[in-house]
């Protein structure tokens, strides 16, 4: 029994994670309560991180957990609590009439592309050690990612720092209290 488990560790982990990913995604669409949906999304993120580890992308897996699960989801939950999402009036959540059409279209698209994707399975996978090496020197996944990031992708890296600045600026501009805006809000209601 144990031997079988050890021999099949990769498929077991993959399928477990894959089921969690899809279940979490379905949960995001399904749940009425946004907080439940958020927790469902959290499960998806963690499962995806597990998949990354399986793909020899250890650094990205860690970033996924720290940034997505630890940052973005916390932000979501904070905002939901800030706006008291549960006390908002329960409103009609779905556009019922669109659901069958959406599902059929989505399914069709998926089937078409999946048919083409199977061709890839016959290509050989490269040696995973290549993901920890740069120019022949073995150094570990994080260092390899770092080398390529700061050498070849320096420009996008710097521009992304501006993106983050704008995000911060934008969040402040949109989120700050404006005394006159509250008066306008009173009139609007």
């Amino acid at each position: 029994m144990l031997d079988w488990l050890v021999a099949h560790v990769v498929p077991i982990v993959f399928y477990t994670a894959a089921v969690l990913v899809v279940a979490g995604a379905i949960g995001v669409i399904w749940f009425r309560n946004p907080i439940h949906a958020a927790l469902s999304l959290l499960a998806t993120f963690l499962a995806v991180a597990g998949l990354f580890v399986l793909q020899h992308a250890e650094f990205i897996a860690a970033v996924q957990i720290v940034v997505y699960a630890g940052g973005v989801m916390v932000l979501f939950l904070f905002v939901m609590m800030l706006v008291n999402v549960r006390t908002l009036p329960r409103e009609y959540q779905y556009v019922r009439s669109l659901l069958p059409a959406a599902v059929v279209t989505g399914g069709f698209l998926a089937a078409v592309v999946a048919a083409g994707l199977f061709a890839r399975s016959y290509l050989a996978a490269a040696d995973p050690a290549a993901l920890t090496a740069v120019e022949g020197q073995t150094m570990g996944n994080t260092e390899a990612v770092g080398w390529v990031l700061y050498r070849d992708f320096l420009l996008p890296f710097e521009v992304v720092s501006l993106v983050l600045l704008v995000a911060m600026l934008g969040a402040i501009v949109m989120g700050r209290k404006d005394r006159r805006e509250e008066d306008a809000g009173e009139e609007a209601r």
Binding site: A25, V28, G170
Partner: protein, 100 residues
């Protein structure tokens, strides 16, 4: 045997769920979460292709994807906060003052 195709099919399912979710849900917060699903699907693709080719480039781009997705989420949430303050709703239909 788990091949790259398994990952690609999984990400396709995720992508489809994200897009379908955006079309049928009216709640702005849920919409944002579906956007995150779509970007995660793309990230899975990049990582999987990176693994198959033995090239770290895909992983490096994944860093950018995650960062930009987080920035987008921040702004989206800011817009939500502003919207709720003014209109007491996160339903896009209710916010429809202008002809759709």
């Amino acid at each position: 045997m788990i091949t790259i195709t398994h990952y690609l099919v999984l990400s396709l399912v995720l992508f489809t769920l994200g897009v379908v979710g955006m079309v049928i849900r009216r709640n702005f917060i849920t919409l944002l979460m579906c956007v995150e699903l779509i970007i995660n699907a793309a990230t899975i693709n990049f990582i999987a292709f990176s693994r198959q080719a033995g090239d770290v480039t895909g992983q490096v781009f994944a860093v950018f994807l995650i960062t930009i997705a987080a920035a987008e989420a921040a702004i989206g949430l800011g817009i939500i906060v502003a919207l709720v303050r003014l209109k007491q709703t996160v339903q896009l239909d209710q916010a429809n003052v202008m002809r759709g």
